[in-house]
Symmetry: C2
């Protein structure tokens, strides 16, 4: 290894929320030698005990104590909680670096825009997750080869941004930088709408198919891949849809319009247009390979 | 191996359509020692040459000759072609066993219902596929641990059904039997609607997201899994939607209704109901695990 990252000083790190994201991040921080100890802050007692048992974290402390004892603090909690916790964390921060892993960014950067310690905070969204949640869902090699978006980097102190960049590089993520508003728009297209379609597809099948056994036995790989996101946790997703409401509504309206085109083709038996719609959809190959 | 399958006599088999499904089936028939030679029938000259080059088949012959030289014939072509080819195949069949791998079954069993050789034909749907097509898309271990539906088995000769069952068992598939009408209904829920939502999602994103690069860089695993089916071949899918029009329309209408519920929650900021919708969708866990 020739990179300067190896000389990166280990920091004592607090992870607020040791679930899927926080727990997976803990595994990476330990494995890549970036942590001089990890403190967990966790309101769910069962999750706290499990995270300790799994060795994801070294100890559980109350938030204030954890901040006082750390050099870096990561927030990995639902985005509604983030809005209230982040300003409180910054209130208590001195030299520490703070970053978050939330799926929406605009409201979060707005809520701390005027905070005297705004510079210590770096807004990030590592674009990785699974449909599972809690510390037991944490996996090694999470985040690797995925994109991470750093938002409004200009509002953060240079040393804070640089350290956070190094952390994500060391985990093996591709760094992207954009404004929070642009992030939330793109996230609605490439992530949030997929979850809505998957939730709605699950509800469709549960409504129409009264024979569970038939779904269970017949479900193809195609069905599983389109519906697996429907297992995702509402405590995470309702706040995301709330915070990104306008963008999500905009994409959802377009999606319903697109589905109505398929419906109209079938109703009118216009199979030439149906063919065109599918050929157009095939263009996603140029992007996804 | 203690099963009687090993004593299964090898048959000379014709595969009509050596694409993804026919090619993958050829790999399995060879690997599991069920074929005493495989003849391909293929209208696409490029596919024919490629299937020979890849060793999926031993030779390419015109349909009539292939039938005359075979003991079993498999049809693995789009379901609109199936409707016209199957009766012609049965016209030429004597002792041979014929089965198909089509995704819709009602129209197909209807079209040969009164055929004097109906007994030689077994209607099947192995529930496996990928979003790719052509002989190069053929993969080893295809079909394994997936379900195969045998329809209207009572209309087939006992020896024909038994042999086809043995073939699918040897490939490692779970056998299910049902009437063609029930199959098409269930297939609309667990397969066809997933493809429509995926095509429509691709069109949504291609319509709204003008920055290809943003999709490319940001696309998460979740997005890829919900949209990958949108790469599927229209030559295969338009005929499926045509033949299963009523069931697909019924499920599609329900799906649009379900999406409208999400839309209404967001518009009215009714996040309690949004939570309920997601919790309901989570019930898909009890089926998919």
């Amino acid at each position: 290894m020739f990179s300067g990252f190896n000389t990166m000083e280990r920091k004592k790190i607090t992870i607020v929320g040791v679930g899927l994201i926080g727990g997976s991040l803990a595994l990476q921080l330990n494995e890549k030698g970036m942590a001089a100890g990890i403190i967990g802050v966790e309101s769910n007692a069962e999750h706290a005990a499990k995270a300790l048992e799994l060795g994801l974290i070294d100890e559980i402390l109350p938030l204030e104590e954890a901040i006082a004892q750390s050099e870096a603090i990561v927030l990995a909690i639902p985005v509604d909680k983030m809005i209230t916790i982040l300003p409180k964390v910054l209130d208590r921060v001195n030299h520490q670096i703070v970053f978050d892993a939330g799926s929406t960014k605009s409201q979060l950067v707005n809520v701390v825009a005027g905070h005297p310690k705004r510079g210590r905070y770096v807004a990030t969204h590592p674009m990785w997750g699974t449909e599972y949640s809690g510390p037991e869902a944490a996996v090694k090699s999470a985040f690797e080869n995925k994109a991470v978006v750093i938002c409004n980097a200009g509002e953060s102190d240079a040393d804070a941004v640089e350290w956070v960049r190094q952390v994500y590089r060391k985990i093996g993520m591709h760094l992207l930088e954009m404004e929070a508003v642009a992030h939330d728009l793109h996230a609605a297209y490439v992530s949030h709408i997929s979850h809505i379609t998957s939730f709605a597809l699950a509800n469709t099948v549960l409504e129409k198919e009264r024979e569970d056994q038939a779904i269970f036995e017949l479900a193809s790989a195609g069905f599983e891949s389109t519906v697996r996101l429907a297992k995702s946790n509402p405590a995470m997703w309702v706040p995301i849809f709330m915070q990104n409401r306008d963008n999500v509504l905009d994409v959802l309206n377009e999606h319903i319009t697109q589905l109505r085109k398929f419906k109209s083709c079938l109703e009118k038996e216009n199979y030439e247009y149906l063919q065109e719609l599918i050929e157009n959809a095939n263009k996603i190959r140029r992007i996804l390979g």
